[in-house]
Amino acid sequence: MSVDLRYSELDLELRRSVRAMLTLHSPWQRVLTNQDRPDDATLWSRLATEMGLAGLAVPERLGGGGAGLRENAIVCEELGRAVAPVPYLASAVVATQTLLACAAERWLTQLADGTRRAVVVVPVDTPPGPAGVRPAPVGVHAGPAFGPGVRADDHRLTGTVPGVADAATADLLLVPTVDELWIVEAVAAGVSRSPVVSLDQTRALTDFSFDAVPAYRIAAGRAAAGALHWGLTAGAVLLAAEQYGLAQWCLDAAVDQLKTRYQFGRPIGGFQALKHRLADAWVEVTQARAVARYAVGVLADADPGAGPDSEAQVAAALAQAHCGPVAVRLAEECVQLHGGLGFTWEHPVHLYLKRARTAAVAFGGADRHRSALAGLVDLPPG
């Protein structure tokens, strides 16, 4: 409970440099002009390699930045704010944290400078949890197995995984089977990826199929489950930072619009009904920041190898239960407060709306995180 929710001077400096780069190199129009590409490779190389942000959480001795999740969070806030189409959350957070939890140094070294990208091959709506993977049916919060779509046979993987986010350009695939965690080269024979026409134009989905693909096992049993649990928990928390960034942009954009749009002879921001709605929105966004900052702080102080402790699980569930709906609501409100303009293709807010909607489903969604909380804080269902 002694988590400092403020930004440090270093945080603010990191934010300034990331924001300056994104402003220059990731204007939202690029998404619409690059629609045939699933993500922005040029932007990735600036962010990951030139700025060294891919390996922020990788230890220095493995070629990384030696920082951690707090710094990742600053980057994620800015990526959310810019709806930037780069697989940072998938590679620099979820895959990196999963590998950290496995102490899989060989691959961490490859990710550290951003020249290679990795992804954990699970459907985008997979919640963290001791048993991971598919959303459990009603009332069941932990199934007996994870990675049910793929099986291993003599170090070769066969099976399918639908709807993996930010996976189209990954070089390394971390593939869970029922009780093991494998690593696969994306170019290996037998891997096929089909791009999905995705609702979110800044975070595309990919369907995978594996046909006897040679694989290397990096963890098994409890270690594999623990690593996956950690990696997905980190993803849920850092997604909350991204959701906060997205919501904050929506608030700022709505405020700007209300100050500059005149109707009835005055700026519409002077109309009380709109003012009160924006006041409520400010409260929500500020709460989202506090909740996300708390979760990042708790997770940053925990040990990946030990898996998320109880408070880290509470903080992560809280972050997703709160921030997902806030991002969606802010994006919806931002569309509405822009009136006709917000309903067009030519204004960026639709990209925020689509991203917020995908994010609201990612890592399980608010509903499943509330259910997870019920178990963690002793509020059992009937």
Partner: protein, 400 residues
Amino acid sequence: MWKDRLSSLVTEFLAGHDPEVIGRTEFLRARFDAGLAWIHHPVGLGGLDAPRELQPLVDGAFDAAGAPGSPPHRNPIGLGLAAPTILRHGTPALRKRLLRPLWTGEEIWCQLFSEPGAGSDLAAVATRAVRQTDGGSGAHTAGWIINGQKVWTSLAHRARWGLLLARTDPDLPKHQGLSYFVCDMTAPGVEVRPLRQLTGDAEFNEVFLTDVRLPDELRLGEIGEGWQVARTTLMNERVVIGGRPVPREGGMIGVLAEAWRNRPDRRTPALHDELLRLWVRAEAVRLTGLLVRQQMVTGDPGPEGSAVKLSYAALTQAVSGLELDLLGVDGLRHDDWSLRRPDRVDMLGRTPGYRYLRARGNSIEGGTSEILRGIIAERLLGLPTEPRTDRNTAWKDLPR
């Protein structure tokens, strides 16, 4: 008495006009001329001065015979907005010229009201209509020159005519300096460009009007009384949007209920309760629509229509959002982001993502929910207006 007379008129008409033999357009023209189009219209304008509430009887009789009627979705603005406006404000010549091809669908209509700077504040339109002057004498001639830009114009790319609100006197306060025209969409200087929405589709258009010449005969109402004419159009707009009768589980709640029934794997207790809340709300909106229609004895639209539109928009948005929550990753699969130009909105086809995105427009188009709340507060509850600074200022001096 009217009932019997209408029944026998329809029977008689069908005896003389076999829809299997005569072409569709010819049949509709003949039906119009027989006064069996809008039966409450005057004789000669598609009607018989018959009671409006008997219209369903006539339509039903033609339907039963497999005969064509005017397809409402082909010319929605013509039938819903242009027809009542022309009937009320048009000169005899205009009514005669415009109503028949409107009803038969031979001439499609669009609405040239909104502008980039005049959305909720529609009375602020800046499109100028200037009296054409004779080059030599400087005297007014019988025509107008129109310049300006309109936006959110559905069907402009198919329309023969447009309902045009334009400013004839910028020195007057904004509501007083407007006039209302029928715009010939084939006139030189009318340029229509598709306007793309967040769905990727371009249902709407931008319309650029550059030195468009319109004869004075195409004016509806007096010069400077354009706002009064526009109110007739607007009142009918909200009825068109909010007033359709729906059966239980009609519309998007039915899509959601089916998704729930088909996807037991995605159900959770929280989603279940949200679904039930929305199901209840959908019934409340539906029954309120029924109540409003039952009370609308005269057929005249009232501010209650605004309330139905308001709650319908919010419901549709909530329902389509819950569909995405329910479907999880499956709801994130879209069909196509390429530019399409649909003639009408099909909320029930396509993907859940499309439904969700398109529903965002329900609270913006045809009067934003904010404007509708103001109408309810002032006209149904009698609450005072806010202090206004723009009512008595010359339009040209308003801050913008």
